[in-house]
Symmetry: C2
Subunit: 347 residues, 2 copies
């Protein structure tokens, strides 16, 4: 069998699995941000008609998946795997959603890197002939994340300038080998990241903790494929925020592979209006890159505004226990190269 | 491309990826059980020379992986992915281990189903040509799990008879397309499970919560492949314990596919001497099936004592938050069919 690896970490997907069907459901604050009109639905409040924040997050998750499957022209019965995760302990959003959907479930945990982790795996499973159509999903919720990782909202703790605001939202994408609708994009390559830790221990400075992992994955993909920043219309990180964004720019300059300013974008800096929305360093959470990819970027690939993008969600792999025990915060970043269907589709 | 799915949920792996190199590291209590001599190493106490139980679990994880890679005749640099998880929040055992190893990391969360979830994914990624050699790993630790899921040990809470004892231990397996040593076994098929919930809400009765998912996956695999219990030398569940074991037997009888008593085994009932070791309904935790597979079953496949087994770890997908909010406990089970290399290896 032909091995599809390029270099050390990058994997080619010669069959170019298609992304068809995208769902993006967000909270009120995200709806008031600059991308508000791009999302499928904006919830009126953080409870989204449910009795708890956890149930609200699950409802967003299910609605995003439902929308993605419908837009792909499919039914849940035709989907072979749900590849998904979220930020909550024991990924209860994803696993309880999988219970309701009845789709075989591959539970993932990559912190905020989950959306690209799931797309990488989906791409490989479809390219290998092990599934025909799958759905990938990731979510986060400001109120569930705050009480789990930091302090209950009622505590009213003050947030330092490096802190980020966890996005309330869920994104879902159907990946298929037999599109029934015009594809949004094709997955050309993926690059699975290593866990990198440069010693940040402040749980309110996740951007700095994740930037070294983002640089590591980017440099690996460039080295493996002989490409550089100029070969991508956009290089998109998940939720580095302002601190992590600036640090990644610096790390790439130092590695002599400088990113091109107007082509490098961070979902965490796009989803809110930082001047007016009091989100400090920007947005974060699995739901950040999941909703921005599905709501904003995939339509731009579909209509050819963008030809090729490098989408890389970034995750911080700490837990409250590890932080309390004085551990530093390791980061991870997985990357997928997505191409517009107007580039010709299957290789 | 030829689709490799058989029926609804089962996937054939025509290239029969090889399991080469197994590591099983356990705690003192597990070393004193009936399988004590089968494991690579038995720790002297729950701290395993570390400063915290969490660090002890990580050391077991790293040592099991290190041993598996060495036995496979490889070095960490030759391994392309670590597919792993554990029971702790944010899978800190797996993710911090991945940091130390420097191997690209695919983080999984399947609760106690993690060992078979990782083997299923490894089988598909290798069969698809997306990797040449990977390592799968899962762990649990009695002391870290108790304080996370139930009560701190110091609290001294009383355990009901349905409760299970979380195994302290880590198991790791190298899966490869190019064995450098005599393979232990080959992966022939896998079946990804659905999330099933029949309404159990008692976090001290995980066996009952997981048994319906185990039955669902077994029945799917049998239906998809036209096989039955008589086609497997052993059908092995992860950690149903006595309550779940009996319930699975009953569910399969009711479905008119009765399991064969002497061929159905549960790792949770094998790892301890229940009469003497005060473990109530049996062992549990990701580490239970991970260590029993690697320490006990893989050598029996290698030497031909067993020709074909169905290995199915079982997971309960609840969190303390979901339990406190009155949610029931969904279960999941993923299955792999493993064949002895003496059966001929590659198809």
């Amino acid at each position: 069998m032909q091995l599809k690896r390029i270099g050390q970490q990058t994997i080619d997907l010669p069959s170019r699995p298609a992304l068809c069907g995208n769902g993006s459901f967000v909270g009120k604050k995200e709806g008031e941000g600059p991308l508000g009109l791009r999302f499928d639905h904006v919830a009126k409040d953080e409870l989204y008609g449910q009795e708890s924040f956890e149930l609200a997050e699950r409802r967003l998750y299910l609605d995003a998946i439902d929308t993605a499957i419908k837009k792909a022209g499919l039914t849940p019965e035709e989907i072979q795997f749900l590849l998904g995760g979220d930020l909550l302990n024991q990924i209860i959003t994803a696993s309880f959603s999988a219970r309701d959907l009845g789709i075989p479930f591959i539970g993932l945990y990559g912190a905020c890197s989950t959306m690209s982790e799931s797309l990488c795996l989906a791409g490989m499973l479809l390219d290998g002939g092990h599934a025909q159509q799958v759905v990938c999903a990731a979510s986060s919720h400001f109120c569930t994340a705050e009480r789990q990782y930091r302090f209950p909202l009622e505590f009213g703790s003050q947030r330092p300038p490096t802190a980020q605001w966890t996005v309330t939202g869920a994104g879902a994408t159907v990946v298929t080998m037999e599109p029934k609708v015009q594809p949004l994009a094709h997955i050309a390559r993926c690059c699975m990241g290593r866990v990198v830790d440069l010693g940040i221990s402040d749980a309110n400075n996740m951007g700095a903790a994740m930037a070294p992992a983002a640089a590591d994955t980017l440099l690996s993909l460039f080295r493996d494929t002989g490409t550089g920043p100029e070969d991508y219309d956009r290089i998109i990180t998940g939720d580095l925020g302002q601190v992590g964004h600036d640090l990644l720019m610096q790390l790439m300059r130092e590695a002599r592979v400088p990113l091109i300013d107007e082509r490098y974008q961070d979902c965490g800096l796009m989803i809110y209006n930082r001047e007016e929305q009091d989100v400090h360093a920007g947005g974060s959470g699995c739901g950040c890159s999941a909703t921005v990819l599905n709501g904003f970027y995939l339509p731009k690939l579909q209509n050819g505004d963008l030809k090729r993008i490098l989408f890389m969600s970034t995750g911080a792999l700490m837990s409250p226990t590890s932080s309390q025990q004085g551990e530093t915060i390791p980061g991870i970043a997985h990357a997928v190269v997505l191409e517009s269907p107007l580039m010709g589709g299957k290789a």
